[in-house]
């Protein structure tokens, strides 16, 4: 299993390295390595350090966060069709950001606005899904879908009134998911929450393994099911809120990547979570590189490209005759 994780690590590093080479301008590996080792004030160093490196790092973090969040939520709910946006985080963040953009809020305030609104929405969904000390999986799904639908309607209403506004294109771009223009400041804002989310996810590994057998068997094995559910939901919400804050609504990574990761590394969360993180990072970074390169200098939205690639991948998992691996 360690060999498979090592293989995924190599794949991720290859995606990160390759992504520094491609874009509007093709850079040779030697020039990128030189720019990384000797930051100078030339054009290549500027492209690498100021444009591509922050974007590649943020892309990897967004992909890893969504991969982990998807694996956590699919494992907790024992439902392979769940994705991290079920918690309502992305819809909640989107409403606040779209509303903020519409009324002309400073772009510097957008990350904080999205993060706060996303986590607040996750808290509302969790409150609606609460049963006793823990969470009811069915209520969580229903509450998440309902709140997300409500938020989508509000966004549609805002966009309807903004059709002729200058803000409309940037709002649509954000909704479609993009790493364009993201930098270290946004990452610094999210860093503490990302760390907290990853630590909670790591602590949830034994619980996630117990929950694979169902709540009753997990409880019989000594798991405090309610505490485990809150830890997993907390981790999922933090990681998803950070990814939405950094890159908008990047779909399909949180849904597809955990399936492929489980096929590669097995269902044991000890291996499935790192595999989901590595694969999520590799897929997102590679997709972003394609977004920058395919129609350069125009960029294809990341979420759009991932959907174009993700839908066939998702259908393939079903149509090849075997179901996605149970979470």
């Amino acid at each position: 299993m360690s060999a498979r994780l090592a293989g995924l690590l190599l794949l991720t590093l290859a995606a990160l390295g390759g992504s520094l080479l491609v874009g509007g301008t093709w850079l040779s590996p030697a020039s990128v390595v030189s720019a990384l080792l000797h930051p100078r004030a030339d054009e290549v160093a500027t492209i690498v350090w100021q444009l591509r490196l922050p974007r590649v790092v943020i892309g990897a973090i967004v992909g890893a966060s969504l991969g982990i969040a998807g694996a956590l939520l699919q494992g907790m709910l024992r439902n392979p069709l769940v994705d991290p946006f079920l918690t309502g985080v992305s819809a909640g963040a989107a409403v606040a950001i779209v509303a903020g953009m519409a009324i002309g809020v400073s772009s510097a305030a957008v990350p904080a606005l999205g993060f706060c609104s996303g986590t607040a929405t996750a808290i509302v969904v969790a409150a609606l899904a609460r049963r006793g000390a823990g969470l009811d999986p069915t209520r969580l799904i229903l509450a998440g879908v309902s709140i997300s639908s409500l938020c989508s309607s509000i966004i549609a209403l805002i966009l309807t009134h903004l059709q002729s506004s200058d803000a409309a294109p940037s709002i649509v771009g954000w909704l479609a998911g993009s790493l364009s223009g993201r930098g270290w400041n946004e990452l610094a804002f999210c860093a503490p929450y990302l760390c907290a989310g990853v630590l909670l996810a790591a602590a949830a590994v034994p619980a996630l393994n117990a929950l694979r057998l169902g709540d009753v068997r997990a409880a019989s094995s000594g798991l405090d099911v309610a505490r485990a559910q809150w830890i997993i939901l907390g981790s999922t919400s933090l990681l998803t809120a950070c990814s939405v804050t950094l890159a908008g609504t990047v779909g399909f990574v949180g849904l597809i990547v955990p399936h492929v990761a489980r096929r590669a590394a097995g269902s044991n969360a000890r291996y499935a979570l790192p595999a989901s993180a590595l694969l999520g990072a590799a897929v997102t970074v590679a997709a972003d590189a394609a977004c920058r390169s395919i129609a350069a200098p125009t960029e294809i939205p990341l979420g759009v490209l991932l959907a174009f690639a993700g839908v066939p991948a998702f259908l393939y998992l079903y149509l090849r005759g075997s179901r996605p691996v149970t979470a």
């Binding site: 393994n209 169902g214 000594g222 269902s267």
Partner: protein, 263 residues
Amino acid sequence: MIAARELRLMAGSKMLLDDVTLYVPAGEFTAVLGPNGAGKTTLLRTLAGIRSAESGVVEIDGVNVRAMHAARRARAVAYVASDEIFLEQLTVRDVVSTGRYAHHRWWDWREEPRDRDAVDGALAAVGMQGFSERAFATLSSGERQRIWIALALAQESRFVLLDEPTSHLDVRIAQEILAVLRSQVHAGKGVVCVLHDINEAAEFADRIAVLGRGALLAQGNTQDVLSGAALEDAYGVSMERTRSSRGRLRVFPASNSSEPTPR
């Protein structure tokens, strides 16, 4: 000893059992009998501390089971559920290793030599030592039941509570499963087993508890309970009793039992 006192158990607004006082000694095999819907599963989960009673208390060696921390409770009592579950891509070892959760801090994912020994020992106890790396989904019903029991044994709890472990199994496999449980009783564990086959209880149990009509109708040693009227009272049918060649009591529904026994 598990001591349940004056339990009232409900399913929603429906009363399942009232005023149940039941004692389960360690080192004995207790069978729980009763018709469908009598509250056997609910009682078992309450004894295991997985659900709370509407009133009354369950104590394990004098400690309220609901006041125990989840891990401490799991080291005292293991519960084997009856429902089937689809587990793709999990190996037998993955499943049985879950029984070691209660022996670690909740965030600790390291597997130690004592965990491997406990899992290997549990698999050997149920005769599945060669199946460690097999995919759980490829096992037969009888093999899966053995693995669930192995999971409970890997927990190293003092009591094991099983909900219908022989349902849907053929006669030979059912006898083997019950023999495994019997061997655990000899090793000092207290075993409580919900059974539908009265004669399996007659063959393997030291004690029997009979549930029916919303109450615990009888509890005591196997021969006494099977000889009494509790079974007719619980199931609402007449019973015929015979002795096997080894002198064991055997109980069967009487052939003219299409008419329910008046209560």
